[in-house]
Symmetry: C2
Subunit: 130 residues, 2 copies
């Protein structure tokens, strides 16, 4: 059983945390059956579940593999140090679980394509769908 | 002539600003000819060019249309108030230019697809390509 934990920074503004949680729910509905049985949100700071809590929950649900994906746009200290350190601790605490760290969102080559799609949509009709 | 101004928050950490600038350079190379003649980065705070400076530069280069795209993951105050206010001011200052505000990156339906692509790549081989 495979789980995806999408890790955002976390915000005092609950609506921002809820956006990530809803994205994960959508992801689970859309894509969950293809590759991941469980898709959850986790937060580095200021919101729950934390990264260890999120990984524990994935394991409790039966995950033998957990992929941790940083939902960040730039490779600052959180991406380069803080999240890898949390993943290392989680590996030590869960030696029977494969815990992988995926590249952060901003590093995805597809981001540029997405920007152009958004910009073209915005340009044509000034929409603000979704 | 059409320009795309990708607006990030801006960081004291220059490498984060450079990531956005490089993304825009890549976007200009990859996609510029299809839809946008110019693709530039702009910053809300802490880095240059600012949003008005970026728009002015697009206009100086000959843009009759500028699409401003917030490079943000959540719809906080910066996305809902600060960037629209800057766009309003820029419209008033450039009445002969069409200045459109595109949806912010985190609102793109394609973000979920991108996350799964990244997670699958990360899961298969732990890569950090790019």
């Amino acid at each position: 059983m495979k789980a995806l934990l999408v890790v955002a920074h976390g915000s005092r503004r609950m609506a921002s945390n809820d956006e990530v949680i809803k994205l994960c729910e959508r992801l689970q509905e859309e894509k969950g059956e293809e590759e991941f049985d469980v898709v959850m949100a986790g937060f580095l700071e200021l919101a729950q579940p934390s990264i260890p809590e999120g990984i524990d929950e994935c394991v409790r649900l039966g995950a033998e593999e957990v992929v941790v994906l940083p939902y960040f746009l730039s490779a600052g200290r959180h991406v380069s140090e803080d999240i890898p350190a949390e993943v290392e601790k989680a590996r030590a605490a869960n030696p029977h679980v494969s815990i992988q760290l995926a590249p952060y969102l901003g590093s995805a080559p597809g981001v540029s394509r997405l920007l152009v799609e958004l910009a073209e949509g915005g340009e044509r009709n000034g929409h603000s769908t979704e």
